[in-house]
Amino acid sequence: MINAVLVFNNAGQPRLTKFYTQLDTSVQQRLISEIFTLVANRPNSSCNFLPYVPFRASCFVLRASRLLSPVSRLPSPVSCLLSPTPARPRPAPPTNPTACSLPPLLASSSKSSTPTTPHNDTPSLVTYRHYATLYFIIISTSTESPLALLDLIQVFVEALDRLFENVCELDLIFNFETLHATLGELIVGGVVIETQLDKVVEGVKAQGKVAKRPVNEGKSLGGFGRGEGLWAGR
């Protein structure tokens, strides 16, 4: 099953956190930052999985100062499924000799079980995908198919793109309720209930109109959150 779905940006700021098992808030935050550290330091050419490693020694983590400093971003996409706009190239972040295994929080627990065969119930797979400024993460057990999870993330992002029309991080910041609703149409309680784009979009739209972010946030009215649809769209 799927244990958690996370979205955070290139600076590690969470944009969506959904844990399908109850976790303390502080533990959640630690997990997010651990996963971010692991994921953000992988070159883009790497595969999109953080594997389970039996002999895990210790994972490196970034210094706090570096994380909170102004963000340096990974080079932006050119090959894109969603929109052909070329993006500005940016300096790559200094690569850190980072661990390649599971985040310590997950690894420490899976270590307790037999090291070579992670149990079906332990979250042992972190699948991630990087879109422009955002990372989409799925933490799952080994019973999920890794490639299928990548497709699932793709469906999620495409659904968001459909809902927000050329979706960007700002949309998700200001409409985090819609973000949750979209996820809720895809996954319930850690089990995937829908993988068809149309049905997902349909399901979200049935819950109410999806707000657009303001063209210029300075001009906008301060009504968001007290009622949807106050924004006129771009």
Binding site: P51, R56, L67, A87, S109, D121, G222, G225
Partner: protein, 1071 residues
Amino acid sequence: MFEKSLYDLIRGLRNHKGSEKEYIASSIKECRSEIRTNDMDLKSTALMKLTYLEMFGHDMSWASFNVLEVMSSPKYRHKRTGYLAAVQSFRRDTEVLMLAENQLKKDITSPTPTVISLPLGAIPHVVNPSMANGLLGDLLPRLTHSHAAIRKKTVVTLYRLALVYPETLRPAWPKIKERLLDDSEDPTVTAAIVNVVCELGWRRPQDFLPLAPRLFDLLVEGGNNWMAIKLIKLFATLTPLEPRLIKKLLPPLTRIIRETSAMSLLYECINGIIQGGILAAVEDTAEGEEVARLCVGKLRGMMIEGDANLKYVALLAFDKIVRSHPHLVSQQQDVILECIDDADISIRMCALDLVVGMVNVDNLTAIVGRLMRQLRNAPIVSSADDPANDRGRNTGVIPYAESDDSDAEESLRPAEQNSNEIPPLPEDYRVNVIRRILEMCSRDTYANISDFEWYIDVLVQLVRVSPATKPLSAAAADPEDDIHSADVGRGIGRELQNVAIRVRSARSEAVEAAQSLVIVDFRDKMFPSSGNGGQSVLKYAGWLVGEFAAYLSRPDPILTSLMHTSSVQLPPRILAVYIQAIPKVFSRLSGNDQISWTPERKTLMSLLMARIIHFLDPLSTHPDLEVQERAVEFLELMRLAAEAASGTSTSHPDGSNAEGDFIEPPLLLTQALPALFSGAELNPVAPGAQRKVPLPRDIDLEEPINRNLASLLAHAETAGFESDDDDIWTAYNEPPASTSTAATSLSYHDTPSAMTAAERLDAAANPKPSSYQNADAEDYLDADILLRRKLERRERYKDDPFYIDSEKERGSRGATPLGRIVRDQTEAAGEELDIDKIPIMDLSKELGMGSRATRGEEGNGSGRRSPRKKKAVEIIADETVGPAEDSHADFLLLPNNKSGTGLPKSALLALDSSALGSLSLEDDSETPNSNSGSRARISALQRERKEKEDAEMRKAMQEVERLRLEMQRASERLEARGETVVRKKKKKKVRRVVDVEDDGQGVEGEIQGEKVDGGEEGEKEGVKKKKKKVKKKVEDGEGGGEGVGDGMGAEGEVVKKKKKKRRQVDLDAEA
């Protein structure tokens, strides 16, 4: 309307760069007041803001009651906010969960589909067993809701319910199955059901075999790739139970492999064929060959294609095949070896795992060479790059959006694959590689190694590329925890030791290698230039140069290096080994009795001993006890030896050693010292072998060795507390009186009063060793006396080195040399017999001792062990030497007789593990809420505690409700009398009462009737009544379901009947 909206909050955050903390604090404060207002809009906005901030780690558990309020708003918009907040913030210990149940029930039964969706999405996050029981009845009808979206969400929600409350499945499963078997069901619902079935499937596959035909049809019909993947995964767990499925599955799977355009489906087909044992099942047929070729061919294609993800999953698949079909994998050796050097560490790791599996005699050198090259060429990470903290722990996350919004406005597109920077080798990867090399090479007791000199070179090289170990982790780590420790030096050292012991032909090379590692002058060359990487290897190298000192080509520099000033800085574990090695090397230098005792030699020896004493002296107060003990022991020994060598006993009248300047060197140097360390050759002992040595029937471990121990200890203690020094002095000196002033004063001068208690204890403990030796030995002897006696005895038995040997061993408390003596006393034939009779080979085979399986395990170790025990028996029985030997022989035969017991023992072990396996499975199927690994370990405990707390909570709540009811009734009475009541209060109360009535479903009367203690009972009643209801429904539904022959219904019925019976009994009892 001056309140902030969520939008304002986010904007504010973005405008308060640098002062986010203050801004957030003030915002939360505002929320606190806003959330208390009666204005539902304001409330829900505040809640929304809190939920947003919760994402960044700001606690909102205090608002849980307000969450409930917003959830109960009639407006959908508010409800949605409330439910989101509940999902994000409710935890197991959230108290209002009890109250939420009614709201959930209400919304599940709402006529509006969007409203129904809210609780359906939220229940998986908040459900607990008691709530599951309550909600079940309302959820079941939703399975037939007219909206497909509701049906599929209900299925999943029921699954989550079943995880915390397995009973759910009794009524729910027949209905879900009905849905699944319904051809006209919406395909999306079917897909959701398949997902759930798949989740349940690997927990108890046997229950799903009857569904196989339908599932097979679904797989063939296809259409939904996700569902197809899940079905294949499910079938992979079913095929072991139903081999006939394999034949049926093969055609569609191969068809999919050939036809599908979805790479994920293709991969999962291959994976399913591998995991389901299909490949193994059809192995020898032409068909099977074709399948194997097809799968491996496709996997090879994935490796070559260039997509990192495909490469990774292909490696995973290969990894699964390699266990059963190594030949298939080694055909692809070229592409796999390529991956070892892949830029992506995930892929490298995977390839590494794989390579370990496919290694054989032919390719070992090539593979290891490749890995070695990788290690050598990448720079070692300096400790400066080692960041010790992560942000979450230190500062918490501060929510902010970027300063330049254009970034955030960027459309989400997959990140481009152009940053190809190769990171330097991370340390844990390095560690992993080294471990894997060791694992590969030592596999099956070096089955794959043909050239041990090469292996030793590899080991020495590995030391040089070892990453530094962090001092902190080294200190914190359990010294025995080798597997997870980052300290690979230990692993390398152990291999070196292993080779030296097991492979006699390579021993001199191994010792040579150890020698080069130990010599201080070479240290820069042999070890990584920065950090303390590989340092732990010194522990083993130090042991090797000591134990095999005879092989040393340059003993002098070794001795110098061991006593180098830098050695004192080594970790205590290593230092202790060094201290042990020093006299060994020294005895190698001094032990030659062929060379005449010339003044030159005497000077040299005296000098050496002086240096040793100089080195050991400060260590006798070392904080580490092991170091201290060894230092003290050898210090005394060396002093004696020095005395003997110098022969200047005039200064110590009691030294009684008057050897003088013989042409023959002092026996202490040529005989006694070497005899301490020579003797039986060490042999590897299988892990657990010692445990197999049966306990002699006549030994009683419960019986104290010295019955007077308690009183001795007490005596020693009281003596220690006495402040009167003279008293202690006399007490201490009494027994030795006139004989041992010299030695006694030696130890006394150091720490006169502080040492007394300890020495007292020593004295108390001494009876043990003394009675080991001789029944006539006095019970109360001081260490120094023993030493003196030893010397005397040595004099007496000059010609019998073995005897002296044993004495010295006792003095230094060497455990193993003692065994050596015994072994020497034993007839060689008996010994050999012993070796053969201990079922070591069987043992290691059966226990499946993996990499460290000891092929040459010999009885020597256990033999050595057993005589010791044997001797211990002697002490107790106060037997003399003669009978002891007899019983010793008996004992040696024992392993023989008991070899039968050894086998069942391991079989028993095997049974044990299988029982464990089934237990854990059961555990999972019943309580899989432990499925998040972070809590997997503690969850069992926690669950228990939670359950207890829940029960207490329930009790308390019931009590509260009861009181409320009473108050309510009182207030009603008051109202009836026309008294005015505060509106608000009353409103609240009434609502609560309604809650209770819902909850209890007409058991209100009972609850009222119950006293506090009976609260729980009352609830049980409620539960039972409900169950009865449910059961009726189920029975209705079962009419159809029974035809399928599913055992579940019947089983359920039996259980229910039982319950019913019990309930009646309860009722009777109550009545």
